[in-house]
């Protein structure tokens, strides 16, 4: 019974080595000359632009997904990355636990669907490009509407209210006549653009242009988010996350900035929803399961909440791994069937051994280390 703090520390030597190795890499990265970093960054971005080309990915060994078209999978992955970047603002920076983030994605997608689809009741049939800003704006408004009454709550309670709201949106989507439930909206227009020979750029068969579009938008969004975090706004968010009372007493209008965090996160989700609807051509209530919200949140924390790179890696990896399981068979068992089982287990194990995420914020990592030292004797 007289357990001590020693055993866990001993057990972790192997993990520590790994961790040290990673830290060394991160150190090296932070001390590398500017141009080296730029070259590497450009190389990484170029890699991701090249990725959906079959001429390229067929040489990548096990990376392409065996069970579904890789380009289409990459599109899904990119949407998840965009969502993770958005949720990271809310959860990672402002520290607001949002379990209903996918609801905003639904708002974005439905706005596009309702305003563009011929099966919609209002028959506006507007082009996609015109509707995108409307979708983003509406999602922001819905973020503010959800945030205004709920952002007074903290921690777990906020998580539950957001979860409740997302579920209400889903039930409304299923049950209300206007949102067409499972019947959904079809023939949603694609983004505009034509090749010289008159073929549309954003056709049905080739998912690459969509992927490139999302990838480009991700880069823009990341630049925007970086701008925010390196400003008064970002400082306000982090100070709220760190100590909300102290932030208030230092003159931070916490409510306003929490609302902004919610609204910016929502806007990004709305953009993702609009892109999804434009690519998918069809939107119905089956697209918005609650599990998706949980997956995105887990992805952000998995990658390393509070760190943009972490969120990107988390969102990408989680979405990719789920698809990667498709078509893999082990001991006569189709692994795809078990993907969420693994997902759940990974979350548990991860929180025990690496709660700060794969690529943590340097600040966060220190916090977790410190907390461990304060373990109460014998407990």
């Amino acid at each position: 019974m007289t357990t001590t703090i020693d055993p866990p520390e001993r057990r972790e030597t192997a993990v520590d080595k790994l961790r040290n190795g990673r830290e060394a890499i991160s150190e090296r990265w932070h001390h590398a000359p500017r141009w080296v970093r730029w070259v590497l960054l450009v190389a990484v971005i170029a890699f991701f632009y090249a990725l959906p080309n079959k001429e390229f990915y067929q040489y990548l060994g096990p990376i392409p997904t065996p069970g579904a078209n890789f380009t289409q999978v990459m599109f899904t992955v990119s949407i998840y990355v965009l969502l993770a970047v958005g949720l990271n603002i809310v959860v990672g920076f402002a520290g607001l636990l949002d379990l209903g983030y996918f609801g905003f994605f639904a708002v974005g997608a439905y706005t596009v669907a309702v305003l563009t689809s011929p099966s919609s009741d209002i028959k506006t049939l507007w082009p996609w490009l015109l509707v995108v800003p409307i979708a983003i704006a509406l999602t922001m408004v819905s973020g503010v509407m959800l945030g205004t009454p709920t952002l007074r709550l903290r921690g777990d309670y906020l998580a539950l209210v957001t979860l409740g709201f997302a579920e209400m949106i889903r039930i409304a989507a299923v049950s209300s006549e206007f949102l067409k439930g499972q019947r959904g909206f079809n023939q949603i227009p694609h983004p505009p653009g034509q090749y010289a020979d008159g073929r549309p750029v954003f056709g049905v068969l080739d998912a690459r242009p969509y992927y490139w579009l999302v990838l480009t938008l991700i880069i823009l969004v990341v630049i925007g988010v970086r701008n925010l975090t390196h400003s008064r706004v970002g400082r306000a968010w982090i100070s709220i996350r760190e100590d909300e009372d102290a932030a208030q007493l230092m003159g931070v209008p916490t409510f306003k900035f929490k609302l902004w965090a919610f609204a910016s996160g929502a806007a990004i989700a709305g953009l993702a929803g609009a892109l999804f609807a434009g690519k998918q051509n069809f939107v119905n209530s089956q697209n918005f399961e609650l599990l998706n919200s949980i997956i995105i949140l887990a992805a952000v924390i998995f990658g390393g909440s509070g760190n943009i790179v972490g969120a990107i890696v988390g969102g990408g990896l989680v979405a990719y791994m789920i698809e990667r399981f498709r078509g893999i068979e082990l001991f006569g068992v189709e692994l795809y069937e078990y993907r969420f089982l693994f997902f759940g287990l990974v979350l548990v194990v991860m929180m025990i051994f690496r709660p700060q995420g794969l690529i943590p914020n340097r600040r966060r990592a220190a916090e977790f280390k410190d907390r461990r030292k304060e373990v109460i004797v014998g407990e």
């Binding site: 039930i171 887990a298 997902f343 979350l347 373990v375």
Partner: protein
Amino acid sequence: MNFDGLFSNFGELTTTGLTQGAIYALVALGYTLVYGVLRLINFAHSEVFIAGAFAAIWTWNGFGLDQNSQVSGVGSILFYLLVAMIVAAIASAGTATVIERVAYRPLRKRNAPPLAFLITAIGASIAISEAFGVYTRRLPEGAPILVSSKPLFHIAGVPIDAVQLLTVGAALVMMFALDQFINRSRTGRGIRAVAQDANTAALMGVNKDRIILMVFIAGGTMAGVAGLLYDVRIQTLTYSVGFLLGLKAFTAAVLGGIGNLRGALVGGLLLGVVENYASGLFGSQWKDFAAFAVLVVLLMFRPTGLLGESLGRARA
């Protein structure tokens, strides 16, 4: 809005609501106990419930009973109920223990932040639920009809049947037992002490780990009984029903004042009734919507619930 639908069925909606609410209440106890002691929303509690519900069905299967079986004779019915109840309670308490040991205790030992607990709870919940899903091939499993739901008698024209009596009765008995346990026993006192002030409790010689384990076991037992009652009432079980039921049970716990045992009862019954009224008023598809609306409105305007928070602060 269909006021006629509400008023013409008012009595039946109320009794079904109360029956359903009794099950919510039993599950809510688990949330309330764990929250009271650890300030943690044990998301995985819904799967503790599911474990009990499956255990009961599989017990009956073990006796050769399936969904087509008819059992007669009060003695054998009681026997099957009792055995299944014990197995279900053990299965649920066992699941709860495993969750606490495997998922939460390592986090406590590492002094992890609350967010880590929440994510772990979600992870554990998904993993357990999926394990049942894979095992049952995501198909529903049927329970034998042990208790007839033919009306026994009428109160003011509203029929009352044996399932309703059994469900509400068993829930009340279990609650009473738990209440006595918390308020009268030495362990119960330890639970209340840890809930009110864990550090001081440790200074009194209370072993917090043991108390936490007891809390999970007590909550698990209640969830196991709830699982059995669910089987008796619904007679079919799918691996995925836990999530929604768990969420509603949590709503019930918050409604009554989380951490407050008697609040869980009040909250459960109230929620069951409210959502049934809503399904009468707006249509069944809006039933869950109503439950979530209650949760959201409540958290926004009175997060301490109807009876106030905290285990023991208001004498449990």
